[in-house]
Amino acid sequence: MLFTSYLFLGFLALVLILYYVLPKRAQWPLLLIASYVFYFAAGAHFLLYMFSTTVTIWGAAVLIDKNHAAQKAYLKEHKEGMDREALKAYRSSQKKIRFRYFLAALLVNLLVLAVVKYANFFIDNVNGVLKAFGSGEGLSFVNIALPMGISFYTFQAIGYLVDVYRGNTPAEKSLPRFALFVSFFPQVVQGPINRFGEMAPTLYAPHGFDGRQVSFGLQRVLWGYFKKMVIADRILVAVTAIFGDPSHQGAYVFVGMIFYRLQLYADFSGGIDITIGIAEALGISLRENFNRPYFSKSLPEYWRRWHMSMNAWFRDYIFYPLSTSPALVALTKAVRKRFGAGAGKRVPLYISSFAAWAATGIWHGASWNFVVWGLTNWFILMLSEELTPLYARFRKMTHTEHKRSYDVFQIGRTFLLIGCVNLFDCHATLGSTFRSFASMFTMNNYHIIGDGSLLQLGLSGLDYVILAGAWLLVLAVSLVQRKGSVRAQIEPLPYAVKYVMFFGLFLIVLLMGAYGVGYDQSQFIYNRF
């Protein structure tokens, strides 16, 4: 049931009506049923995967929480009579018990994810090695369909498990309530990856009908459909035409790279607008995932503003614990002693961020392209960290510290840099990625931009006009957003003006949305992760 299907719109309308008509105590159970129906529509057997994640993580978290409570009660009674060593030994013994629960649930879920998502990638690599050693017989591939949103809900559930293990959030005692946290239908497909402690208060609370809130939520949903259907699904045609044909090199790659950036943003942020908008209409707060990322002036800033919930996840659950782990602390000390303080303090940063970016890459997909994509990001980020003092000196020397033009240059540079890195995403193999990247500099066919060749990519002149207009609207809204919520700024306008604006946007989606005879409703790009 795609967000862009009529079936989903009907489903959503029904859920919204029932949500506010039924007694408030039935609201979260209704959402649970709706979420399971939504997930069931994607494939009945997929429910088994999700349910196993739900049960294992919920069970382990409850056991960890019980141990926490027992430790607290024990210490309350006995702490006075214990010296520091005894306290340390007791805490450590309890921590070991909790760690066992934690590790068991973690491994089960990572194993499931590894099998369904990475088994064929693994087999492909094993076969490659076997072939290199002259063995003709390779392993056969397994035929497992990837359950919808598995990377998102598994990571969200694991994040919760870590939070409970660390004692940052109490465990949810009710299995059905926890099942809703894992399966909540607007976000199960492509995130944002939420935290239990932040989401739970509004997820389970009773909500009275608040016209303003519902209207704000639906406005955002409409805006998401606009981005997805008018921009992303239209430009997709040209992106597919460019990267689907290996003869499109040089300037075509340059154009495709820019088109793909625009498509990816419109697709992913549009999908997230629909998700957060639906949740808002239900009175539920979710994490934001984007903060006008294309205005970023550097790659580190971009990664703080793009897919924020995933980044925060890797930062909090991989980078941070790894960088403060005993092994890295010992390594840091050894390097500091041998090579000095400067080298020593870089150890945790370099190694932990390497691990986090390798994991981010593999999270995106089971291919070497994504691993190299992640590590390219890591390399540029580390380089950027090292060059920061040099940049600061350069800007001081050239008196460009407060120059707007330099900011614009930085924004453009960052946009192109990310475009180049994302070429990994547009190709299936490393070879074709590097070939097309190099062709941008070696092939002199930039005349295609102005000689009508772009009209052969499946988009008409009118499509380009619509795209330009739609993109200008997105840009204008992003600029207005700098002063705060656009919807709150529109609110005081006369009713007639607002009506014309929203009805206009609705008509644009209806008339200019990329659908019609022969048009495939397309999946969201991030669905495949």
Binding site: Y320, S323, T324, P326, V329, A341, K345, R346, P348
Partner: protein, 76 residues
Amino acid sequence: MKELLEILEELHPEVAFEEETALVDDGILDSLDIVSLIGEIKRVFDVTVTAGDIIPENFNTVQAMMDLITRLEDED
């Protein structure tokens, strides 16, 4: 307190930590130092400083760090 000072002095032998009142705000401890410091605190005091605790106020003075450690020990 003695153990914490030992950790800090190993990071920056040139700094008189007990006299400083704005270690983070004055840039004496940067983000990379804080990461090393948290790792050491975890090793020596067996407490985990969570991401939410990483704010300048908790690391500006030796006393603030000690207060944080004591609080985390009590929470356990």
